[in-house]
Structures are given as structure tokens and as C-alpha cells.
């Protein structure tokens, strides 16, 4: 059969965009903007590195700040051999590790009980935990300060200006969110797993330790990382509760001791800041996925 072409119908010139060409342009723009944002994100830390390699002389000579002409490791050497600085680092490490342990010991059983064992008031408690996260430390630092001072006067146990007081207050910042993360992970474990464990003869405790914790291990790691990062970066509470140099943690230590009067030793300050930022950055570099999982736990599971 011969096909007939209707010549009387109006013909439109249809312009087709090339799909692959559109895609490559979209990609090019994406990479362009991403590079811009990446530069924006990385400039400050990079500048920290650059400055840390400069001697005081070079800094005050006001040459191009973006380039190191005479790199030196003197700043690093000074800080890493300074007893004071090492003390700060040690205090931070001690506090963070203890706080992480305390946090996990409180959060994990609580999360398990809230996620799995339905008991009177568990729903209100879960929401309550979430809500307390909304009472910021900037509201609580003054009453807590007064409370600890009063406690010290009453019992003679000195709570102000001791690094171990931080072990009491830091958990208020880490426990609610860690519990929230763990509730999400525990809740996502299928209920049949509990039932199989019950029929296999496991007690609640055995179910938690032998089934839930191993299966929710990624969540545990994410929560641990979160607790560590928050503890390490704390500034307000240590500023309020610790004042003597030997009790300070890193963030407060750097700021209060390296800034002596009007003389700012920027080379050392930047080096100190970089070293202070190192532990979270290193954890992040190696465990980035867990880090992000901890953050988004609320988003995807909440």
C-alpha cells in the first residue's frame, strides 16, 4: 500500500533540544557552582594551614597573606612541646572519651527501652527527650553555675573550676540526640527478630546485647562520633566552669592563653586552632559515612 502524505496540512518546524547536550551543560554549571562553594567552604581551613606555617616575622611583614614564602614548622614545634598546650589537649581528650562512654551507657539502654519495650509513659518520654534538646545550653549555663557553686559551698566538693565537672554537664548535650539516633536505629529492626529471640529463649538484656547492638552497630558508631564531636567542640560550658589554666580544655585554652593582651601571635593561634580541629577532622576523614548517618538519622528515620 502506498503511503500518502497530506501536503495540505501546515508543517511546524519543531526544534528539538539535544538531550545529551542539555545534560552536559547542566553538569558543567553544577561543577562550576560546586567549585565555587567548595572554595568558599575550604578557604578558612586552608588559610589556617597557610598561616600556621608562617613565622611571626613573615606575618607582620604584611606580604601576600595567601602564600607562604618562608615556611617554618616552628609554630608546631613550640605548641607540641608546650606543656600547657599538651595539657589542654589531654584535658579535652580525657573529657571527650569519658563523656562518650557515659553518654552511650545512658543512651543505649534508654533507647532500647523506649523503642521496644512498650511501657506506660514511653511515648511521652520519647517526645520529652526530643524536646529537651531544644532547651539550649545558653539558657542553662547561669543557673547551672549557681547550682554548682551552691553545691560546692554546701558539701565542700568543689565543682567549679574542675575539669571533671564537665563530665556532668556535657551529657545533657549529647544524650538526648544520641538517644534519638539509637531509637531510630533500634526501631528499624524488624519486630520478628525480637520474637525469634524471645522464642529462642533470650531475656531482654540478652536481646539487647546479642542482637540489637550488633545489628544496629552503624547507629552506635554514628552516635559515638556525634557525642565525641560535640564534646570536643564545646566552648561555652568550659568557658563558664573552668578558669585555671591547668583545667582548661582545648577550645577555651587556645583562645584565652594565646591571646595575651593586645598581642596576637597569629601563627601560633592558627596552629593551635588547626591542632584543635584535627581530631574531629581525622575521624571525619575516615568515618565520613557514619558521621553523615548520625546527622541524617533524624531526617530519614524520624
Amino acid at each position: 500500500m502506498a503511503s500518502t502524505v497530506d501536503k495540505s496540512a501546515p508543517t511546524r518546524t519543531v526544534k528539538y533540544g539535544s538531550m545529551s547536550r542539555d545534560r552536559t551543560w547542566a553538569l558543567r554549571w553544577s561543577y562550576f557552582f560546586l567549585t565555587l562553594f567548595a572554595i568558599f567552604s575550604l578557604v578558612p581551613p586552608l588559610y589556617m594551614v597557610i598561616t600556621s606555617l608562617k613565622s611571626s616575622a613573615e606575618i607582620s611583614s604584611a606580604t601576600n597573606p595567601w602564600w607562604v614564602f618562608h615556611p617554618t614548622l616552628a609554630n608546631y614545634a613550640e605548641l607540641l612541646t608546650s606543656n600547657q598546650f599538651l595539657r589542654f589537649f589531654w584535658n579535652s581528650a580525657l573529657v571527650s572519651i569519658f563523656v562518650v562512654t557515659i553518654t552511650m551507657l545512658i543512651s543505649v539502654p534508654a533507647a532500647f527501652a523506649l523503642a521496644r519495650m512498650r511501657f506506660w509513659g514511653s511515648a511521652t518520654l520519647a517526645t520529652g527527650v526530643f524536646l529537651t534538646y531544644l532547651i539550649p545550653d545558653t539558657l542553662l549555663f547561669l543557673p547551672l553555675f549557681k547550682m554548682f557553686a551552691a553545691f560546692g559551698d554546701l558539701t565542700g566538693i568543689q565543682l567549679i573550676n574542675r575539669w571533671y565537672v564537665l563530665l556532668i554537664v556535657y551529657p545533657t548535650l549529647t544524650v538526648p540526640f544520641c538517644t534519638w539516633i539509637m531509637i531510630g536505629y533500634f526501631a528499624s529492626i524488624p519486630k520478628e527478630l525480637d520474637e525469634a529471640a524471645i522464642i529462642d529463649g533470650a531475656s531482654w538484656f540478652q536481646t539487647l546485647t546479642r542482637i540489637f547492638i550488633p545489628v544496629a552497630l552503624p547507629g552506635l558508631i554514628a552516635a559515638t562520633i556525634f557525642a565525641f564531636t560535640v564534646s570536643w567542640a564545646q566552648f561555652l560550658y568550659p568557658l563558664v566552669f573552668t578558669t585555671s589554666t591547668d583545667q582548661l580544655v582545648l577550645p577555651v585554652g587556645i583562645i584565652t592563653t594565646l591571646i595575651k593582651g593586645d598581642v596576637f601571635n597569629w601563627g601560633q593561634i592558627m596552629t593551635g586552632a588547626l591542632l584543635g580541629a584535627a581530631p574531629p577532622l581525622i575521624i571525619y576523614a575516615f568515618l565520613m559515612d557514619y558521621y553523615i548517618a548520625g546527622l541524617t538519622a533524624g531526617a530519614t528515620k524520624g
Binding site: V43, A62, M117, P143, M288
Partner: protein
């Protein structure tokens, strides 16, 4: 033919009574165990969060040496101070502006990351999250140095374009800009990560259907992406409003509230009055002003969570 058997009475009921009691005991034990497991959490929150919050209410009604009860005297004093109203205004502007920009930038960047092939995403995501990973106290120091009145690296670069030196922390308006800038730099990655996770959960088929229906990129965002992400956007925005509103580190380190109290927010001013000035009750009164605003935000979040729970 139909097999429904009726058993003659041969059931041993003696053991049953004993076993019934043991089940009750077992049930009690489950509640007891669960309660014990949550007890440390409850104690922690009651003692170190709830109690201090109420205590600060009490503190705010005392005089400076904390001997006398002066009722609302502290609040009356604050209302008359011009600095107080400055702080209120600054806190609100700071929180709202910073959050808006953080959300916007986070949203845009998340889209770009989502657009590039999956293999490269991890790399870019890694780089872009760095501001969030660095302790804010440390990175603010870097910004302080970048903003330094004499040695600012930014001013150095700008001078090569002929733009005069900018008083990043010296001038009131520039100082406010700087504080917001640092806060946005620090907080946008958080939004980016949350939005990226949420973007990934929008089914591709919705976009494909929209594309076939003739939607361009802007319409796709408006009609497909935003509605699907509504919950995440609401929650992160509210969360961030609260956290930004209560921010301390950045302002304290960058400007210490200056110049002339023009960058003070509730937290830093409360610290100045309460700890540095030694007037704890007055400082408590200042902090307390954050509370009504936080409470309103909390109510909105709660409502949103419940709504989302019902939708799901």
C-alpha cells in the same frame, strides 16, 4: 463429620494458679526493667535540664547579691535599657537572616550535588561538609584572622581590585554582616546534608512523569521537589532557628558583642552580665527572654512531627 471435639475435664488447674502469678511477676519485671533502663536518662534530664531551667526563673527574681527577692525588678530594669532592645532586635535579625540563607544555600548546593553522577558525589559532599566538622570555636578564630583590621587577607585581595579596606569587625553594620556570614558558612553544610538525603528519597518516577507532562526545571522543583521535602524543610528550619537564636561561640569570639554592643545576642550579653559582670540574676533574666520564642518554635515542631506521623 464435622470435627469439633469437646474434651472431658482432665485439665490440671493446680499448676495454673502458680503459673498465673509468675506471669504477673514477669510483666511487672518488664516494666521495672524498662523503667530502670530509662532512669539515668530521666534523672539526667530532670536534674540538669528541667531543674536549672526553673531555677533560672527563680534566679531572675533576685537582686544582684542574690539576697533579696525583687520580683520583676530585673525585668523592669532591662526594659528600660536601650542595649536590651538592641539585643532583642539583633538576636531576631541574626537568627532569621542566617537561617534563611543557610536553608537557601543548603538547598541549592544539595541540588547541585544531587545532579552530578553518584560516584563523584561522595567527594564533593566530603569537601562541602568540612565547615560543619571543624569545631566552631576554631574556625571562628580563622575568620577572626581573616577579618583582622590590619592584616585581613580579604582586604589584601580586595585592594588589588581597588576596593578600600572593609572594617569587618570594626563597623557595626559590617560586624553584623560578618557574624551572619560566619554562621552561614558554618551552618549551610548541615542543611545541605539533610536536604541531599531528602532529595535522594524523592522517587525518580515523579520527575520523569513531570518531565513528560512538560514541566521545566523550575516547575519540577516547585511542584515535585518542594512538596515532597516539606517536612524536612520545616523541621530543619525550626531546629536551626532555635540553635542559631541561642548561638554563643561565633559572636563571642568574633566580636565579643561589639563594636559598642551592636552584635550582642542574648547568649553573649547574658554571659557578659552574668559571668563577667557577676550579676547572675540579671543575666538569668536576659537568657530567659529566649524562652518564649523557643517555646513557640517547639510547639510548631511538635505539631509538625505529629502531623507527619499521622501522614505516614
Amino acid at each position: 463429620m464435622v470435627d469439633v471435639a469437646t474434651q472431658p475435664n482432665s485439665i490440671p488447674h493446680i499448676g495454673a494458679a502458680r503459673k498465673r502469678i509468675s506471669l504477673r511477676a514477669a510483666l511487672k519485671r518488664k516494666s521495672a526493667v524498662a523503667f530502670l533502663m530509662t532512669l539515668p536518662l530521666i534523672v539526667l534530664i530532670l536534674l540538669l535540664v528541667i531543674y536549672p531551667a526553673f531555677y533560672s526563673l527563680h534566679l531572675a527574681t533576685l537582686n544582684k547579691s542574690m539576697q533579696r527577692f525583687i520580683g520583676l525588678g530585673n525585668f523592669q530594669f532591662l526594659f528600660k535599657r536601650e542595649t536590651f532592645w538592641l539585643v532583642v532586635e539583633q538576636s531576631c535579625i541574626f537568627a532569621i537572616t542566617a537561617v534563611v540563607f543557610k536553608a537557601l544555600i543548603g538547598f541549592i548546593v544539595a541540588h547541585f550535588v544531587h545532579n552530578i553522577p553518584a560516584k563523584g558525589q561522595r567527594k564533593w559532599r566530603g569537601m562541602l561538609l568540612v565547615p560543619w566538622v571543624i569545631p566552631p570555636a576554631m574556625s571562628t578564630l580563622a575568620w577572626l584572622w581573616l577579618f583582622d583590621p590590619s592584616y585581613s587577607a580579604f582586604n589584601y585581595t580586595l585592594s588589588t581590585f581597588g576596593i578600600g579596606p572593609i572594617p569587618w569587625t570594626g563597623d557595626a553594620y559590617w560586624a553584623r554582616f560578618s557574624v551572619i556570614l560566619v554562621n552561614v558558612w558554618f551552618g549551610a553544610p548541615f542543611f545541605m546534608i539533610m536536604y541531599l538525603a531528602s532529595l535522594k528519597s524523592v522517587p525518580d518516577q515523579l520527575y520523569e512523569a513531570a518531565a513528560i507532562d512538560g514541566a521545566n526545571w523550575w516547575q519540577r522543583i516547585w511542584y515535585v521537589t518542594l512538596p515532597m521535602m516539606r517536612n524536612i524543610i520545616a523541621i530543619t528550619t525550626l531546629f536551626s532557628l532555635i540553635v542559631t537564636f541561642a548561638n554563643f561561640d561565633i559572636v563571642r569570639i568574633l566580636t565579643a558583642g561589639g563594636p559598642l554592643d551592636h552584635t550582642h545576642i542574648f547568649a553573649t550579653w547574658a554571659f557578659r552580665i552574668g559571668i563577667e559582670g557577676g550579676d547572675i540574676p540579671l543575666g538569668a533574666s536576659v537568657s530567659l527572654f529566649m524562652f518564649p520564642i523557643l517555646a513557640v518554635a517547639a510547639i510548631f515542631i511538635l505539631r509538625d512531627i505529629n502531623k507527619r506521623g499521622n501522614e505516614a
